[in-house]
Symmetry: C2
Subunit: 343 residues, 2 copies
């Protein structure tokens, strides 16, 4: 069960990507295929202390730049590393991909080349965020879709449910719908329609949630459209930076504070690790016929290592069959309800 790694994608590619992928092979016994210009990748491999035998390299002529249009691997660069990764999954030669390259290009390639699960219209980008109860909350969609319809949000809820169950280990995930008030009537036309349908899915739907529920641990899955999810994630990153810099500024104001900071430094380091994207590695794009993990453009080897590990764990679970069955079951119930209504 191999993981195809886009060796050319990311601000620090290929070095950080190759290094991280090899670390994953050595530490977690993952099986990886490095996809990229074979000369460049070979040169990187030569720099590494030890290259495990299991590491395979597959050549790809082209690279999609970080600033190129998302559609590039479909229209123009059909031999780009990101597209070749996706083709390996489609052909069954890999089970999942990891990329730190152009996010839009990765999402489009995954959707067009790997394809979505039967019954799923659109893949959704998810994130697993730490919460105040010491657990983790799944937030999706984070920007794969901006003009979402009610059926899309319903599918996101199902994907989020299984992700929380299989990958986070929450037995019966509480699923909440992002809105601006707990009552059923609150929100937009979209959220009101989704609320009405969500109640009938058999998921553990707890109703509308608000921005505060992303981090307070009251729910396990938060469903929203890609516009709102993207804003939440980017605002959070920005606020985290603001907190960091305000705290450093305050702690630098006096000798006493600076001494205190030095003594408490291990705690700060541990805190930083818990809030650092490099620790968690990558965000899953859910709803595909294979795994797709999108890492931060600025990923270092550790981020890539963690992303590959996550992808390998994903491969062991049969997540997309579970999602497909649940979506199909809801479709059957819907048809049954429709036929009852028309009878």
């Amino acid at each position: 069960m191999k993981v195809a790694v886009d060796a050319m994608g990311g601000d620090h590619a290929p070095r950080a990507v190759v290094t991280g992928a090899l670390q994953a092979v050595q530490r977690y016994r993952c099986s990886v295929v490095l996809v990229g210009d074979e000369e460049i990748v070979a040169r990187e491999l030569e720099r590494q202390k030890r290259v495990p035998e299991e590491v395979e390299v597959i050549h790809a002529d082209e690279v999609v730049g970080m600033d190129e249009p998302a559609i590039t691997p479909i229209r123009r660069k059909r031999r780009s590393s990101i597209r070749v990764c996706c083709e390996l999954v489609r052909e069954g030669r890999a089970k999942a991909i990891v990329t730190a390259g152009n996010t839009g290009a990765a999402m489009i390639s995954a959707k067009m080349v790997i394809g979505t699960i039967d019954g799923v219209d659109r893949p959704a980008l998810a994130e697993v965020l730490p919460n105040q109860k010491g657990g983790q909350t799944v937030l999706l969609d984070l920007g794969a879709n901006v003009d979402a319809r009610p059926s899309h949000l319903l599918q996101f809820a199902i994907m989020g449910h299984f992700w929380a169950q299989e990958m986070v280990g929450t037995a019966s995930p509480r699923v909440g719908l992002m809105s601006i008030g707990a009552e059923e009537g609150k929100g937009t036309d979209l959220t009101r329609e989704v609320f009405r349908v969500m109640k009938t899915t058999g998921l553990n739907f707890v109703g509308n949630v608000e921005g505060r529920d992303v981090y307070n641990g009251e729910v396990d899955v938060v469903v929203c459209d890609g516009f709102v999810g993207n804003v939440i994630l980017k605002t959070s990153e920005s606020l985290a930076n603001l907190f960091g810099s305000m705290l450093r500024e305050e702690l630098g104001r006096s000798w006493r504070s600076r001494l205190g900071y030095l003594l408490a430094r291990p705690a700060f380091e541990s805190f930083r690790r818990r809030t650092d994207y490099r620790e968690w590695g990558a965000s899953p794009l859910l709803g595909l016929r294979g795994g797709c993990f999108i890492a931060h453009g600025s990923s270092n080897p550790k981020a890539i290592r963690n992303a590959v590990r996550r992808a390998a764990v994903f491969c062991e679970h049969d997540l997309h069959n579970k999602i497909r069955e649940k979506v199909a079951q809801l479709h059957r119930e819907e048809r049954r309800l429709l036929s009852l209504q028309s009878a």
Copy 2:
């Protein structure tokens, strides 16, 4: 130029409200009218050490509870303290109101009783947030409107511009439109339409911004619809709490860290103050024929004091005339363009 204070609104009313309002009178020489049940308010005033002569009390029979429908002061409780506050502004007996009561009820009363400026369709709730450049960023709307049209967002931009200019003191505020990518084509149908129109307003419009720009100091005003703004604000509050508790947890793990924390405590206190809503007091509801400041339900005397101070500063500025003139100017230009096109 009096500020009408809703003495009955908030989790700690009337005590925290009356105490905070009197502090504002004493410290900042604000002029306030306390609105509420006169017996209850009189009893609170008796408990205070010193009551300045300028403090006036106006009786209101009723109170809108925190859980009552927003429409209550319009339909059922027409003698409620929040509504009486708004009537004082309409009648010119006060210039602004401050309330920590039911937010929805306050917004509806303000809109229906005080009324909006000519040319403004809907008031917008704004917040002034600290940013990484050490400045402040105005974010609006925060939930007064969920189904916003392009013209509403345009009006929000104008209000945000003047708020940043008059109240924050930014000479030429950079106005950004919340979206999920900087390019003009990015975002939803709504944001694309607003982008197109915003370019023609003469405001210092810098284009689309992303979630990260709320706190990074790259813009002075961020415009979004009320759904998105509400989610941003509540997510931020929740993340701030998460950071606080993670940091406390980490700092409590060893004796060394705990000692470090004690030494650095003044820095933590200062940091906490900078990120604490009680420091800034209240959010302005803009676009009305008077000032309206909505404080947190859990406001303590300090929050109320700061809110009253802010309201008093607002009264000295001629904000709503400036907003009205700008809106009227844009309307004239629009008509001129339309007549040019049809000529």
